[in-house]
Structures are given as C-alpha cells and as structure tokens.
Amino acid sequence: MIDATDAPPAGQGGLSRRHLLGGGTMAGAALLLAACGSDSEDSSTDTTAGDDDETTSTTKAQAAAGDAKVAELAAGLEVLAVGTYKAALDAATGGKLGAVPPAVATYVKTAMGHHQEALDAWNEVITAAGGTEVTTPNATLKPTVDAAFAKVKDVTGAAELALLLEQIAAQTYLAALPKIQDAEARKLATSIQTVDQQHQAILLFTLGKYPVPDVFQKTDKAVTA
C-alpha cells in the first residue's frame, strides 16, 4: 500500500522550486495590474497628452478594467469553491455523508486548500491594483450550488457536486484566457485552470468514470463576469 509520504501533502507543494516560481507569477500579475491601474488614472487626468498617448492610455485602462473583472469573477468562484468544500468537510465530519473513504477525505482537504490559495492569489492581484478584496461567493451560482448541496446525502453526491464546481471554474478560466490582456495575469489564470482540471480527473476516477473524457477542454459551463 502507499505510504502517506508517497504524495505531496496538501499545500506543501508550495515549498518546492516549482511553486516558488508560481509565487513570482502572482506577484508579477499584481504588479502589472497595478501599473495598468495607474495608467487608468493617468488617462482621466492628463489632458495634455497627444492623441496617440491618450489612445494608448485608454486602451491600457480598458485592458486593466477587463482583467480586473476577470480577477473578481475568479475570486468569487474560488470563495464559492472553498465554502462548498468546507460544507462537505463539515458534513462528512458530522457523519452526514456516511462512510468517507480515506482518499476522498484527503482529496477534499487538498482541493479546499488549493482553492483557498487561488482565492488568496486573486485577492492579492485585486488589492494590489487598488481594488477591494473579494470575500463573497459568486452570486449567480451560489443559490444553485446551495440547492444542489441540500440534496447531497452521501460521498458520491458530494463528489458529483464538486465535479460540477470544478468544471465551472476550469471552464470559466479557459473562456477568460483570450480576454486577459496582462501576460502574468493570464499565466496565473492558466495555472489555476489546470489544477481545477486535475481535480476533475481525480474526482472522475473516484466516481468510477474515465478520468480524461475530453480531447479538448470544453467551455460550455463557463460563467461570465
């Protein structure tokens, strides 16, 4: 059997060299969005700039505003994911889901940790650009998820709901990628999109389904800002 040391514990991947590079991405995205934010302010106050400069500033401001919307949308989805996994964990701990296999318990804790880190990353980007930290779940999806969660009676039901949430999140990131202007912000979105895809693969495997069902990742469940 596998010893727990065979796999990286939740969150400790962050100590690896690879993860440290990811931290650099977050900081880069935050700084670049902040810089765009400054450009945005400049564009509204600098009346002496030439036409080309004004056009450039306006374009940058529009790009920054678009990126900020994506960041806020992403943060709202991450709040929802963290909250839902927390609710599932509480239900499991309270014995409301029946017997919980060890692998599923590990998965829930690990995935919840990932989404919390993703939320923190987006909030870092948002606040660095002068925005307000997102602490509330996506308002469009929250009622639907709550209604679905109320019907969850066992581990399989919880896994199905988690799968749906991961699909929505990953597909939303993918749909947003071409719209994100800042390269580092796009890289951050990709780095989270892909981990959400990995969550799905493991969930599908635990549900007894083929773990990589699509040749190309879809976007039919994506939500927009």
Binding site: D6, P8, R186, T194, L207, T219
Partner: protein, 288 residues
Amino acid sequence: MRVDERGLRELITESQDLQSDALAGARAGLVDLADLRHERGPQRPEPEQMERFNAGRRQLLQRLGLGAGAVAGRSVLVGSFGAAVTAILAKPAAADTALDVQQLQTASSLEKLAISAYAAALGLDFIKNGNPVIVKFAQTTMMQHDEHKKAFQAQTTALGGKAQDTPNPIFLKVVTAATPGLKAPLDVVKLAASLEEVAADTYLVDISMFEDTKSIEIMGSVIGVEVQHLAILKAVQALLEGGGEALIKIPTDVAALPAAAGSAGFPDGAFLTASDETVAPPESGAVK
C-alpha cells in the same frame, strides 16, 4: 485483479462519444482559421511582436541561468541538452519568424513526441499484456495527443507557418536515453508523466506569450487535458510505487484506495508552475 471489461469498454465508448462532440466543436472553430490566414496574409512580425519575442527569449535565458554574458561561460544545464538550448537561445530571432508560429510548431513537436512515446510503450510486452486500464489509458491518451497535434498544425498553417510533424529534438534525446531503462510499467508511467509535464509547462509559458487569441484558445483547451493525463499518471505512479497495482481499475474501489491517492495527482499543489528543465524553448521545435 478483477476488471470490469464491459464497464471499461462502455466508459471508453462514452469517452470517445464525448471526444467526438468536443472534436466537432474544435473543428468548427478551426474552420475559420483559413479565413484568418487569408485576412492576415503571409505572417510578418510587427515590431511589438519582435520585442515580445526577444523579451521572452531574455526571460527564458535568465530562467535557465544563461543570461547576457553567461551564455558562453556558464550553464545550469548539462551535456548536450544544455548545449542545444544554449545554441538555440543564443541565436538572434529570425526576422521572418513569428513567435506565435514557433510556439505552435514546438507544441506540435511535443505532441508528435508524445504520440511516438505512447506508441512505443504500447509495443512493450509488459504494457500490452499488463494492466488493461493502463493499456486503454495509453491508447486513448495517444489518440488525444494526435488530435492536439492536428489542432496545433492547423493553427500553424492558419497563421502562415509550416506545420511541424517531427518530434521535438531536445526531448527526443531525453526519451531516447530513457528507453533502454524501461523494464516495468512504473518506468513507463514515469516517462509518460515527464512528457506530459513538459507539454503542460511549455504551454503554460506559451499561453502567456501568445499574441493570437485563437492560439490561446486552442492551447488553453489542450493544456487542460495534458494536466489531466499528468494527474492520472501521478496517481497511478503512486499506486504502483505503493504496491497497489490491483487498485488501478475501473470501476474504482474507492474505499480501498490509500489516503495519499487523494492528493498524489497534484504534483504542483495549487498552481501549475513551469520549471527550467521542463519548458521547450519556442525555437526548439520550429520548422527550420
């Protein structure tokens, strides 16, 4: 070991149906690529694009410890791999070569290499006569990589470039060197995971550097699948290393899976990150 062959076949069929649906959508998206090419004409880089290419090159050089002044005298890489990367990156950007096209060509070369590697693995006795789930995974994954390659090739052509259909020379050497050591399923799974990691890490960097939005869409949809291959291979690797080969089956015996199986599929933690050793430089698979 009990394997529900019928169930597995049904799952594969279901998977292939889903893949067909996805392919139909992807191909529909590719239909307008020819129009795009017609609109854009022969690809010629704009000054901004050249600057982005060179900025990307400088960034890559720095990441590899091969920045200005260091190319000739120092390398964090060893042997022919380091020499090859140094030679590629030290070469000035060709005036008529676009970064987007190079990245797509290199992506095609990585997909070509993956297809070849999975095909070779399926020819090994201990794979083809081994765990049927691993066999089906290898067959399905090989087919998915083939579709990825076709998508990248189509987009390359749409942007005015030549389609790449040879394996990436840098990582071909890695695979060639590893091949004699493939003695058991675990060896193959580790090699396959390494190739998936190279593809994912390369695409992560590429997506941030693309200018063409259609290329972002295509590569974004591909990377989302490569990382799933990686996750499953890492989980399978953990099971094999722990003596749990009998647990590699569909339907899954979830209750019997060890706790670590719930996290083994996420080697990078919360964020996919690219390491120096696993990114194919944009020029490495470019058509010369």
